[in-house]
């Protein structure tokens, strides 16, 4: 069931791990979501990431620099969403995803801080007008420039939900930031010019012009960055849409053919039921599951085995039998698990052909072993009564698993039906097997 993760390395035999891509999530952030995003990406506690970042601030401001760097370069978004959309769309489920649970509105600290700063600036400006003298003449203009730049850059943070609305706000931010920056630059220049002498004027105006250009460049850069990013996103979305349309066409085609077949064979209920079941399975897989790349998932291989048995085998009365599949965990297939799958197939065939429905299949992938339970509600049989010549149970199920160091056990009773339990140890990272497993092998 575990979806093949985005960016995970698929080593043979390794349990499937998930690494979320680096995004700045909206939920749970304190400021710009850098720490939250890093924590999700590295699978560390958020608190630890925050502590490390803060601890790095006194070290020549590395913490702050890193924070600002990630703030500017990491796009906003839910890491889980990004992980999901990072999968090839041909493998994604078609049904619409459930809307995420809306969180309570977060307090917009960044905006509040910016507003307070602007109010303070305005207050200081008014105070200067009315004659108050400031000791640090450079402080105010620099502050104004900084605020303007911050305002303009803050549009990087704008979430791109309402497209038209977002555009308008970002333009407003750009204009406001630009005006502030220009005012700051003029103030700086004016101060410099006010006390300067004639020959200095040229140099100073040159410096002023340069400063203006720099300011404008700084202000425009994020807009450009965002435009480029949006363009890329849109292109990718278009490609995805086209791919999805192809898949939908394929699905409709397959449903149509099945319906035609069903109509042609309407007098054979067993056949009709089987075709309906096969089609149901296929549709369910396409609509509601993320599919696996072939050869990367034990669960995917198991589902293929189940589909084959459902399609090709019938119950004692010739009726098709549906298998109820439950899986826990997943891993990349290897030779041992392949043998386990083949044994599982034989057990399934036995349950479908000789047992009685419902037939249940349970697969559990643990760190040290893979376990399979196949159960039916038939009359059951006594294993000792089955002659050694009956190749089915002894050789193809139990022998196959035991030869590879696994265990196999069949319990059977008239009231409870038959259950086949297969267990195959797997070398998850080369660690040894548990002590109790060796005992169990004798069972």
């Amino acid at each position: 069931m575990t979806t093949a993760p985005y960016g995970a390395t698929a080593q043979a035999g390794a349990p499937v791990r998930v690494r979320l891509p680096l995004r700045r999530p909206e939920r749970g952030r304190w400021f710009a979501g850098v720490a939250t995003g890093l924590a999700a990406h590295l699978d560390l506690p958020v608190g630890l990431v925050r502590v490390v970042l803060v601890a790095l601030v006194p070290v020549a401001g590395v913490g702050l620099a890193l924070y600002v760097f990630w703030w500017l370069t990491v796009p906003v978004g839910d890491p889980a969403v990004a992980a999901a959309s990072g999968r090839p769309s041909a493998l994604q489920r078609l049904a619409r995803r459930q809307a995420l649970r809306a969180d309570g509105r977060r307090i917009p600290w960044a905006e509040l801080a910016l507003g307070a700063l602007l109010v303070v600036t305005a207050g200081v400006l008014v105070a200067m007008r009315s004659g108050a003298r400031l000791d640090a003449p450079w402080a105010l203009p620099v502050l104004v420039v900084l605020v303007g730049v911050a305002l303009a850059w803050s549009q990087l943070d704008a979430v791109q939900h309402g497209r038209a609305d977002g555009r308008r706000i970002s333009v407003l931010r750009l204009i406001g930031g630009g005006l502030l920056a220009a005012a700051g630059v003029l103030l700086i220049a004016g101060q410099a010019v006010g006390q300067g002498v004639e020959p200095m004027l040229l140099v100073q105006s040159g410096v002023a012009a340069l400063a203006v250009l720099l300011g404008v460049g700084l202000v425009m850069a994020p807009w450009w960055v965002r435009l480029v990013r949006e363009l890329g996103d849109e292109r990718a979305a278009r490609a995805r849409e086209a791919e999805r349309a192809d898949i939908a066409a394929h699905l409709h085609d397959s449903v149509l053919q099945t319906l035609a077949l069903i109509r042609a064979r309407a007098d054979d209920p067993a056949d009709v039921a089987r075709m309906a079941r096969a089609q149901e399975r296929e549709l369910r897989e396409w609509l509601y599951d993320d599919r696996h790349e072939p050869g990367t998932s034990l669960v995917g291989a198991l589902r293929a085995v189940v589909a084959e048995v459902e399609d090709s085998r019938s119950g004692p009365g010739g009726e098709p039998v549906a298998v109820d599949v439950v899986v826990v965990g997943d891993r990349v297939p290897e030779p041992d698990t392949l043998a386990l799958l083949q044994a599982t197939r034989e057990a399934l065939v036995n349950a479908v052909v000789h047992g009685r429905p419902p037939v249940s299949l349970y697969l559990e992938v643990g760190p040290q072993s893979v376990e399979v339970f196949v159960r039916d509600r038939g009359e059951g049989f006594d294993l000792d009564d089955v002659g050694p010549d009956r190749f089915g149970v002894r050789e193809s199920i139990m022998g196959r698993v035991r030869r590879r160091g696994g265990t196999a056990r069949v319990t059977s009773s008239p009231e409870r039906g038959t259950e086949v339990h297969l267990c195959m140890p797997v070398g998850g990272g080369g660690s040894g097997r548990g002590p109790d497993e060796d005992e169990e092998r004798e069972a």
């Binding site: 049904a95 599951d289 826990v328 559990e364 259950e419």
Partner: protein, 217 residues
């Protein structure tokens, strides 16, 4: 036999509602129906039924489907939700359980089993299909042998709860689980309810991670 249990049926497919209505037995009485999120919220507030059988995928509202209905009906005490879905994908199921549904069954369920499930939910118990038990084991990392030692731990299953979940995942009914573990059916129901509570309340890191892999949170 007692009074039949009143049920509101919420599903956007008219044919499916008609089919369920016709197949439910005498122990259950359908008193209302709804086809969208907003209709469902309205009907539940008007009728205050003991049980609502709820499709996970519903149009209308804010697009939150069945989970949104459960969220918007928290102010109706005494109403319990049984989720019903054609999809058996983890994200659909767990999303609706996490907001408070008392159980989950697939639409492939037969009529008697559905009536049983409704009664069980009406009685305050949880309804676990094998599939849901599988999700729980997966989400709580129980396959890796991560098992709680204390009773009040929310983030891990106890050894007994894990055993019960594994048997349910293997297709055992509550009665068969009780027989296998030499405990009473009532005790099985207690364990299952405890697991449901953990699934709803746990903030387990692993759970969010697992959920993230399936994109639900």
């Amino acid at each position: 036999m007692n009074e039949p249990v009143d049920v509101v049926l919420v599903d956007d497919h008219h044919m499916f509602r008609a089919g369920v209505k016709a197949s439910l037995d005498a122990r259950v009485r359908v008193v209302g129906e709804a086809a969208t999120v907003d209709e469902a919220v309205q009907v539940v507030h008007d009728l205050r039924p003991p049980v609502v059988v709820l499709d996970v995928h519903l149009p209308g509202g804010d697009g939150g489907g069945g989970a949104e209905v459960v969220r918007r009906c928290v102010d109706v005490p005494g109403t319990r939700f049984l989720a019903l879905s054609v999809s058996d994908a983890a994200e659909d199921v767990v999303a609706v359980i996490r907001v408070g549904a008392r159980g989950y069954v697939t639409k492939a369920i037969d009529a008697t089993a559905l009536s049983d499930a409704v009664l069980r939910v009406a009685g305050g118990d949880a309804v676990f299909s094998p599939r849901l038990a599988g999700f729980v084991l997966d989400a709580f990392g129980a396959a890796a042998g991560d098992v709680a030692t204390g009773d009040d731990e929310l983030d891990r299953l106890s050894a007994r709860e894990r055993e019960v979940m594994r048997l349910i995942a293997r297709g055992y009914t509550y009665r068969e689980v009780a027989g296998e573990l030499f405990i009473s059916v009532k005790t099985v129901e207690t364990h299952v309810s405890a697991v449901l509570r953990k699934l709803q309340l746990s903030n387990r890191n692993e759970l969010t991670r697992w959920a993230a892999a399936r994109r639900l949170l």
